[in-house]
């Protein structure tokens, strides 16, 4: 069997059903191997390798499985870089396979040659250039294991063309066992219990680790047992259903007032699978000075990296919380619930910005009313992303598909394609005219794959998030954030072979959403919103609770 055949056979052996990618000179052999196995593995051709990388990422986020992307050497490989970095920053398991020039041409600046292993080194969990075909299958097996185990992340395998051509026997092997979870000591568990029992106002802070380890049930149980509210980082936002009254919403720079305020009153932060990103903590030196911090994470390097914890436990959040739950007795904290209710009541008095026009929240609400609890909700990056994060009533653990750490504008459409392929569910993409403009070429992919993706475009004609900062911190110097593009997104959608609709008012939007949710293929709904809509509340960068801007 040739190296190229071995690549695809090993992918199938590892459980891969769908791969995303784009062929090219040094990947032809791999594509021939795919052609011969079209009945056993599906390949999705994107418009651009970046879209393929985001699709693999979205696929992994929605399914919990490893996303796979294939590209050719040189520009094919470099086009993956943003997608790989995006997966790395959000700890998403992705395996990227790139073709490269034959070993004899490596290092000679050959046509379409780049050192993709060198380029991606800082943004992968691990990477390889396989120069010996006898090691090819085992390298791919190890790559899957590394991508999945512990704190997940992307792994890249570069395969020179002569290795793809070389012919050796192949045998399937069982899937490699993942590294066992770290063992948590009784001492640590008891210390955690003691901290929780001593706390009068415990607060559970959920991050992406809870989603990644499917620990939502355990978190809900913990919240019940200790009578605590639950706040989320953006990555952890869909960790537990928002219909649970304990779920407060997102914390951080654009968090919900109640989620932030209640957190600031807490005396114990139970931080689960979070990394205390600057967007979540604000000023690190003034972070929760009067609270103890119990930090549980699978990555030892996250403990005390950004915020010092009172107690740090290295372990799988799911099993650690389960172990803690088993040792806890149900305790009620009525005074704390009382305080929480008071803050929530105060929040309700903050007037919501009302308008006959389409407001961002109105857009989110209208879509949410039409969607199912299991509908994957992808976003791009910017204001619309924050409005969705603040407002959307997430119910399912893997329903939010959003670029957290890297904040990649242009992530959304590729990711929505991946999520839609993974779930076979109608998928929603919330995007803005800035983000959508970056990678809207993937509309072609959504059309060719006949994917039911509802693209809700919050069109304000500006790069809203940067504009908001310019409004607040740069004396309204709107430098390069007014688009003046005159793109007709309805016609654009139609040109791609998708459906296009326009909504100027709430009632028009309701009509559009209704039609879109009854359509087969992709639909773009161009929603006009005001360019001066801001994302509020906001804690300015490096600020604290005291700097919160509410209106």
């Amino acid at each position: 069997m040739t190296g190229a055949d071995i690549i695809i056979e090993t992918l199938i052996e590892q459980g891969t059903e769908v791969v995303f990618g784009y062929p090219g000179g040094q990947a032809i052999n791999i594509y021939d191997a795919i052609y011969k196995r079209a009945d056993r593995i599906k390949h999705v051709l994107t418009a651009h390798e970046q879209g393929a990388a985001h699709a693999a990422d979205g696929y992994a986020r929605a399914s919990g499985k490893v996303g796979v992307v294939i590209a050719t050497s040189g520009p094919g490989a470099t086009n993956l870089v943003t997608g790989i970095a995006n997966a790395y920053l959000d700890s998403i398991p992705v395996v990227a396979i790139t073709g490269n020039v034959p070993c004899s041409l490596i290092g000679r600046d050959s046509f379409q040659e780049v050192d993709i292993v060198g380029i991606t080194m800082p943004i992968v969990k691990h990477n390889y250039c396989v120069k010996d075909v006898t090691k090819l299958a085992d390298t791919i097996r190890e790559a899957f294991k590394i991508a999945k185990e512990g704190r997940p992340g992307p792994v890249l395998i570069d395969v020179p063309k002569d290795v793809q051509i070389a012919d050796i026997p192949f045998e399937n092997k069982p899937i490699l066992p993942e590294k066992p979870d770290p063992i948590v000591s009784e001492t640590d568990l008891n210390a955690a219990i003691e901290m929780i029992n001593a706390s009068k106002r415990p607060y559970i802070y959920c991050g992406g680790g809870v989603v990644s380890k499917d620990a939502g049930k355990e978190v809900e149980e913990l919240a019940e047992l200790i009578d605590a509210p639950v706040g989320f980082s953006m990555m952890g936002l869909a960790a537990i259903p928002h219909s649970n009254p304990r779920a407060l919403g997102m914390i951080g720079m654009h968090g919900k007032y109640s989620a932030i305020k209640i957190k600031s009153k807490s005396d114990l932060i139970i931080a689960l699978g979070v990394r205390f990103s600057d967007r979540a903590t604000g000023n690190k030196n003034a972070y929760m000075p009067n609270a103890k911090i119990l930090h549980i994470d699978i990555d030892p390097a996250e403990l005390d990296k950004n915020i010092n914890s009172t107690l740090g436990i290295v372990g799988n959040v799911k099993s650690v919380i389960a172990a803690i739950n088993k040792r806890l007795e149900k305790t009620e904290r009525p005074y704390w619930q009382n305080e929480i209710e008071n803050i929530k009541a105060l929040e309700r008095t903050i007037p919501e910005h009302k308008s006959d026009m389409l407001t961002p929240y109105k857009v989110v609400d209208t879509v949410a009313a039409a969607a199912k609890p299991t509908t994957p909700i992808a976003t791009d990056v910017g204001q619309h992303q924050m409005w969705v994060a603040q407002r959307y009533p997430f119910e399912g653990a893997r329903t939010l598909i959003s670029s957290g750490g890297l904040g990649t504008m242009g992530f959304g459409l590729g990711a929505a394609i991946g999520a839609c392929m993974a779930t076979n569910e109608r998928t929603v993409l919330f995007t803005g005219d800035g983000s959508f403009g970056m990678n809207l070429n993937e509309l072609a992919t959504a059309v060719s794959q006949k994917l039911p993706i509802v693209i809700v475009l919050m069109n304000n004609g500006v790069l809203g998030m940067v504009r908001q900062w310019q409004t607040m911190f740069f004396n309204k110097h709107y430098s390069q954030t007014t688009l003046e593009r005159k793109t007709d997104f309805v016609k654009l959608a139609e040109a791609f072979g998708a459906k296009g609709m326009r909504a100027n008012t709430p009632s028009e939007l309701e009509e559009c959403v209704k039609k879109a949710f009854a359509s087969d293929g992709p639909v773009v709904i161009d929603c006009y919103i005001d360019k001066d809509e801001r994302v509020l509340p906001m804690i300015p960068p490096g600020g604290t609770m005291d700097d919160l801007v509410v209106e």
Binding site: V117, G118, M121, P122, K125, I146, P300, A301, D304, K305
Partner: protein, 165 residues
């Protein structure tokens, strides 16, 4: 700021040094010296890294190194539990007038003269970094033409060793 020594066993493959030094650069850690060489086991190379920083930097460096797939073992090596050595080759300007004095100094520092010419001496010296630095300081008066230091290598005293995890 303190000085730390970190000992590591890593896989003996091309690219490992780039991966490790790249991580230092990316995370903004400063290293004073990094020495790598093959070991008695063909699969492993051994690295000794010396760095200056706070306890936080040391802890983060070790944790981030532990995450790298090519790193088998990494830990801090405490000064009083180890033997550390560094080697320097130093070429000093030397004429008839100064040569004898330099050779006396070299002798006091238990170093070797490994090359001798009419206007220079090449001295090889091994020891702890502080000793090397003292000697280098001393030689400045005579005129250092060039010098080359290896960086620090360290091993645990007694039976303790870095084991493959």
């Amino acid at each position: 700021m303190k000085k730390f020594i970190i000992g590591m066993l890593v896989s003996n493959q091309s690219g490992v040094l780039t991966r490790i030094s790249g991580m230092f650069g990316r995370r903004g850690f400063n290293i004073d010296s990094l020495v790598v060489g093959v070991t008695e086991h063909p699969e492993f190379s051994r690295m000794t890294i010396t760095m200056t920083g706070e306890d936080y930097d040391r802890d983060q460096i070790i944790k981030q190194l532990e995450k790298l797939h090519d790193v088998y073992e990494v830990r801090e090596m405490l000064a009083d539990e180890i033997v550390s050595r560094e080697l320097v080759l130093i070429k000093v300007a030397a004429d008839r007038k100064t040569r004898q004095e330099i050779m006396t100094a070299a002798n006091v520092f238990r170093s070797k003269i490994v090359d001798f010419s009419t206007d220079s001496l090449l001295i090889e010296m091994t020891g702890e970094s502080s000793k090397l630095e003292a000697f280098i300081e001393l030689m400045k008066d005579y005129g250092i033409i060039e010098l080359c230091r290896t960086g620090v290598v360290s091993l645990d005293r007694g039976a303790t060793c870095l084991k493959n995890k």
